[in-house]
């Protein structure tokens, strides 16, 4: 009987969180494996940028084209949203649902502001004539930051989803794996931006 239960997963829905064959909840393990594939994806993009940057003698200094103070402020906002995300997880772990909702809303706000500032940056650059066709720098800049922006967009959608669930009272102190899983993705997106900001904007 026990063997059947293991083969088919938990017998009762409330046991879902405890069911694991690796010692790590399956959705969390799945997210980590997905993040590993994302590491390779961004390595391809960042690696291409580095190789092309060193192989091209006349590469414009990023500060001459890009708005560094604006993007530094945007980096700060993304770091803030990462902190609010981890505070949301800490709040639900303590059973503080009111703070969970507050921190999830702040994270959502941070992600939305980040995307808005990136959209303004793109709009300004395009109007100044800096586009993917103008140079190799333009091409790799828009490709790399664009793919990261798409990841942030997906993260914002996912956070909006878990925020909605939090307002519907779906998370408790005992059941909040979804918050942790989405949080992992969000922190990874922050981590990638830390690397991208350094490589593309500062060097």
């Amino acid at each position: 009987m026990e063997a059947i239960a293991v083969a088919h997963g938990p017998a009762h829905p409330h046991e879902e969180e405890e069911y694991t064959t690796t010692g790590i909840p399956h959705d969390k393990m799945g997210m980590w494996v997905f993040l590993c594939s994302e590491v390779m994806f961004f390595t391809g993009l960042i690696g291409s940028y580095i190789v092309l940057r060193f192989a091209t003698p006349l590469w414009p200094p990023p500060a001459s084209v890009l708005n560094i103070p604006l993007t530094a402020a945007n980096t700060f906002i993304l770091i803030c949203s990462s902190v609010t995300m981890v505070q949301a997880l800490a709040a639900v772990s303590r059973g503080d649902i009111r703070r969970l909702k507050l921190f999830l809303c702040l994270t959502l706000l941070g992600g939305t502001i980040f995307l808005s500032i990136q959209a303004v940056e793109y709009w300004k650059l395009l109007h100044e004539g800096f586009n993917p066709h103008v140079s190799l720098f333009g091409s790799v800049f828009f490709t790399t930051t664009g793919f990261h922006g798409f990841h942030v967009f997906c993260g914002v959608i996912c956070i909006a989803f878990v925020t909605g669930k939090a307002f519907l009272g779906k998370y408790t102190q005992a059941r909040h794996q979804g918050i942790e899983t989405i949080g992992l993705y969000w922190h990874f997106v922050d981590l990638v931006w830390i690397v991208l900001f350094t490589i593309i904007y500062l060097f």
Partner: protein, 96 residues
């Protein structure tokens, strides 16, 4: 944490470290003459590595997770470094 109970880290301290490093990084990049390329690269890579490590250890809780998870994630980072290094080898190695 549903899988590993641990003492909650001081997230605000990590946040201030991250914010501080970002400010120092921007100042370092703008103040250091770009003719000092090696110094610039080493400094910026160092800052980025410290910040990324702080996020992974404390916000993603790798510090408190099972070692196997760290090994899985770390191995992809090593593969990434190898991939970029192989690409850069063409630039670094003397041309025939």
């Amino acid at each position: 944490m549903s899988s590993s109970e641990h003492k909650t880290p001081n997230y605000m301290a990590v946040f201030w470290w991250l914010a501080g490093f970002t400010a120092v990084e921007v100042a370092y990049s703008s103040l250091l003459p770009h003719s000092h390329k090696t110094l610039l690269i080493l400094g910026l890579v160092g800052f980025a590595t410290i910040k990324a490590t702080l996020v992974a250890l404390f916000f993603m809780h790798l510090k408190f997770e099972r070692k196997s998870l760290g090994i899985i994630f770390g191995s992809t980072l090593v593969l990434g470094v190898i991939l970029v290094s192989v690409g850069m080898a063409e630039h670094w190695l003397p041309k025939p």
